[in-house]
Amino acid sequence: MYEIIVVGGGHAGCEAALASARKGHKTLLITGNINNIADMPCNPSIGGSAKGIVVREIDALGGEMGRNADKSLLQIKMLNSAKGPAVQALRAQADKITYPKNMFKTLRNTKNLEIREALVEDLIIDDRTVHGVILEDGEQITSSIVILTTGTYLKADILVGDTRTRQGPHGEKPSNHLSDKLGEYGFNIIRLKTGTPQRIDKSSIDYTKTKEEKGDNHYWTFSFDNEIHYKIEDQISCHLIYTQPETHKIIRENLNKSSMYGGLDDIKGVGPRYCPSIEDKVVRFADKEKHQLFLEPESLYYDDIYIQGFSTSMPRDIQEKMVHSLPGLENAKILKYAYAIEYDAIDCRQLKQSLETKVIKNLYTAGQINGTSGYEEAACQGLMAGINASLSLEGKDPLILKRNEAYIGVLIDDLVTKGVIDPYRLLTSRAEYRLLLRHDNADIRLRDYGYEIGLVSQERYDKFLLKKEQINHLFEYLKSNKLTPTSEVQEYLKTIPTTELKDGISLYDFLKRPEIKFKHIEHFYPILESDEVKDTVEIYIKYEGYIAKALKEAEKMIDLDNKKIPKDINYDKIHNLASEAKQKLKMIQPTSIGQALRISGVNPADISLIMVYLKKEYHYES
């Protein structure tokens, strides 16, 4: 008997199991292959725009992904460093051998956590409540809570050209019955598709024909622990190339052989819009002469190079021709062929904000089974499912992050409110208040939650409190110290260059000038705080106006999100409610007026009717 069983050992499963075990609950992690725990079957990278901020958020809450990535870096960059602070995010190449190894080590060293290799094919269900799992051989393991993080393994089919093979990534055995069972229990099963490009033998690539892309000349960490495990000069480069007219010709001539373009006629899965195959790009953007490809190293321990941007479901002989048409890859040796993969997922609108399903009590789901894509998206859901499953065992309310608090909040709210058609990727454009959801302030937004829940140690929390104190101190310091228009000051200002002073000006106001950085202030006043503290303070001061506007907007949303809709509301009893709205509301069961308003097809007049009804039936305080 376990308290929590996590099914699946990918990025979602690892975070879920760690959160649960660290909170002191007896946890079992079941995975199809222990060697594939925390595997990265696609890109050898962690982070990216918005996603890098999610990794910071996971870390702030006490999750593992950031720390694990920091231990496994091949290269790291701050994206958008020339743009504003709201859109900067870290992206790293992570070693595909080291990352899983480090994660596995952490799992093994965690108290209350057991790991077992097995395939789950059914759940023990009684009275719409889950009580454990049933393995392939019929063995039953009981638990109070089950978290499903099955990734692409539900009825996985690998598609290459005209062949369809029932298997998961790396030729692993998929789960053939679990999704049918979930369907029987009342879940709507949808079919999704994604793909991955070829891996090339590094020694067969002529790098002279490529453009080198180096890591940053600056130390970065995802984690707020700030522990550096790499050397700037040891970073491994990526390389940029472009597709050639010949590549496009080969693709066009063989289009009907691609699984997605007629090679297979039984494809139901919907592929991700943000991640089209190369044949998709050539067809949809026919006027584009070339497409960008990145050659990315996978590991220090083997020679595979990943061709980012070249995912395809062409047959192998065509893939050979395509790869050889690329500059520097004329004699490339393909170690693994590209493939598309089709898999089952559940309709995520059947989930609560806590990630517990509405269909079966005590059953949680996280990651690709919920229709998302990406390691970071999976990991953050796993963490939240693990946290909320634990809180439920402890008889506490779930932790629901708001859209103005975290990208994690945006992601989960989008899933449960809007559902998905194609695999969901986080983008900065999905966040209404991206200025509030920054890389630098993830700890300020979420550290308190992590500490309260018990996933952030006292030591780490004290470190955070100290940082907050330093931020406040620096604000005060800047407000109370002045620059006066002495000739020395004016001369220096000319060299920056910036407008000379008319009167004395506080350092605070001086820093508001776009061209002024801390180093200019430090010319006159010593600043002892760390770069981290200075960054946060500078952003607040420079973009005060924008931030204030975003906060004001967010406040309106919070008001609406704080108006709760009772669980037992009967929408049939509300007269005049539009039928489309009624149907959507019944399906999604929004917990607040704010969430209801975000459902497409529910308009403000419907919301008014609900408000009036709530007041009448529930003496609801608005």
């Binding site: 696609c42 890109n43 725009s49 918005a50 994206l79 958008n80 020339a82 743009k83 504003g84 859109v87 992206r91 991955t196 490009p197 892309e213 940029l240 472009y242 991700p272 943000y274 991640c275 089209p276 998709d280 790009k281 949809r284 953007f285 584009k288 070339k290 497409h291 960008q292 990145f294 980012q308 941007g309 995912s311 809007k418 983008l427 900065t428 454009s429 999905r430 200025l435 776009p514 061209e515 973009y543 924008y546 506007k549 309106k556 008001d559 609406l560 108006k563 007269h575 005049n576 007026i593 497409s600 403000p604 007049a605 008014s608 009717l609 408000m611 009036v612 007041k615 009448k616 608005s622």
Partner: protein, 450 residues
């Protein structure tokens, strides 16, 4: 629901005092921004104040204002009522100012709804509110759509498309910074974009005919040969002696102006000197000016004398006004008819200004010509137009923020926040608030992927 709402809560009519009601936690703060008089924050509850509504330095209206603080009000929120005397154009302007400064236009029945939600009225009344909301919403929605004419909403849609192209490009630059083959939006491009948006916004506002009618009134000229009774007709419409009326032809040498209101819609009327070949230099100036005025006018009232035959000049005028909104007035019906058949397709109104007969027919005809019937009876169409104007003005304000951001060298992704806001505001006018629109645009316009 806690936002502050405003609406004109009296029926629109001539000469009546209009009441603009504001309710919500920011009612006092927002009104203070457009109020010149004692600081509203310091005034006791349930009192009436005298003062002015201002737009910056410009005085819009002289008003009496009631201030009622929560909870002893109809909605149980802070409530302000402004008694405006200025007719529909002024009242509308006051509402517009409130909307620009942070109020939201109240939905149909919303004051009542708030009263109910805040426990001010009981359940039986509430049932009525439910019906009110559902019945009026569809009506106002339909009207809102009909009000923004196809032409204007098309212009808005085109402008939104232009904006979203740039916005999507900027967001792609943010989300896919490693893509070197996707053009990066530069500050200079953004400057061009701002110029274009500004031009288009102006164009949209000027093309919005209804809003012009409400805001500035209809420009009307009364023309006719000397002593045909133009000034008498003007005086009848004005209901006061403004133009000097005599029997001597050419008495009205100066152009006499007056504003009249027909069911709340402003007519800006100009009475001109008579049209006639003349040797009198002073009068000649008046005549050529009146022909110019015909060109500028939005409505021509052409007055003929029932008692005289058509002259060649009058036939010439008939030709001149052929393609303009015009009404032919045959005055002096109290005298014997000597007038021949009038070669025109315009409506003809027979009246006697001296005996005040037929003036109602004239008013009705003017209303008909400008479709004012609709404005009079369907106050929601009028409101939705005020809403559109306020949204357009908010878009202007956001555009100013964009400009400021560019000038201050702020990063492009910061400036884009305000640009996106313009796109959202315009979407609220046309009802396009599809949240996935931008994301769809991202993936249809740019080639991205692994």
């Amino acid at each position: 629901m806690n936002d502050t709402i405003a609406a004109i809560s009296t029926a629109l009519g001539v000469g009546a005092i209009s009441i603009i009601r504001i309710s919500g936690s920011d009612a006092i703060d927002i009104t203070n921004k457009i109020w010149k008089g004692k600081d509203l924050k310091k005034l006791p509850s349930h009192t009436i104040q005298y003062g002015h509504i201002v737009d910056g330095d410009e005085i819009i209206d002289e008003v009496l204002l009631s201030i009622m603080r929560a909870p002893k009000t109809f909605t149980v929120e802070d409530v302000i009522e402004i008694n405006s005397h200025g007719g529909i154009a002024t009242t509308n302007k006051v509402l517009e100012l409130l909307l620009i400064n942070g109020c939201r236009l109240a939905e149909p029945g919303e004051f009542t709804k708030r009263a109910f939600l805040n426990g001010r009225i009981d359940l039986i009344e509430a049932e009525g509110v439910m019906d009110l909301i559902s019945a009026k919403t569809d009506k106002s929605r339909a009207l809102a759509l009909s009000q923004v004419s196809g032409n204007i909403s098309q212009l808005i849609k085109e402008l939104r498309q232009k904006i979203v192209n740039v916005v999507a490009n900027i967001e792609v630059n943010i989300d896919y910074p490693e893509y070197e083959d996707i053009a990066v939006v530069t500050t200079n491009q953004l400057r061009d974009c701002v110029i274009e948006i500004e031009r288009e916004l102006k164009n949209i506002l000027s093309k919005s005919e209804t809003s012009t009618i409400i805001k500035e009134g209809i420009k009307v000229v009364i023309v006719g040969k000397p002593n045909v009774g133009k000034s008498s007709i003007l005086n009848c419409l004005l209901e006061e002696e403004k133009a000097i009326v005599t029997d001597i032809a050419g008495t009205t040498r100066d152009i006499v102006e007056g504003d009249i209101s027909i069911d709340g819609i402003l007519l800006h009327v100009i009475d001109t000197a008579g049209i006639r070949e003349t040797e009198d230099v002073v009068e000649k100036l008046g005549v050529s000016k009146s022909i110019n005025l015909i060109e500028e006018a939005e409505l021509v009232l052409f007055v003929l004398n029932n008692n005289e035959e058509l002259t060649s000049e009058e036939l010439e005028i008939l030709e001149k006004i052929k393609d303009k909104p015009a009404i032919i007035i045959v005055n002096k019906t109290d005298l014997p008819k000597r007038l021949n058949n009038i070669p025109t397709e315009k409506s003809i109104i027979y009246l006697s200004a001296q005996n005040n007969i037929g003036l109602d027919d004239l008013r009705r005809e003017i209303k008909l010509l400008f479709n004012l019937e609709k404005l009079e009876t369907e106050d929601y169409s009028y409101l939705s137009s005020a809403r559109s104007i306020s949204l357009l003005k908010q878009a202007y304000q956001a555009l100013e923020e964009v400009k400021k951001g560019i000038e201050n060298n702020n990063p492009i992704d910061m400036v884009e926040i305000d640009l996106k806001n313009i796109w959202n505001l315009l979407g609220q006018i046309t009802g396009d608030t599809y949240s996935e629109e931008l994301i769809d645009q991202l993936f249809s316009q740019f080639c991205l992927g692994k």
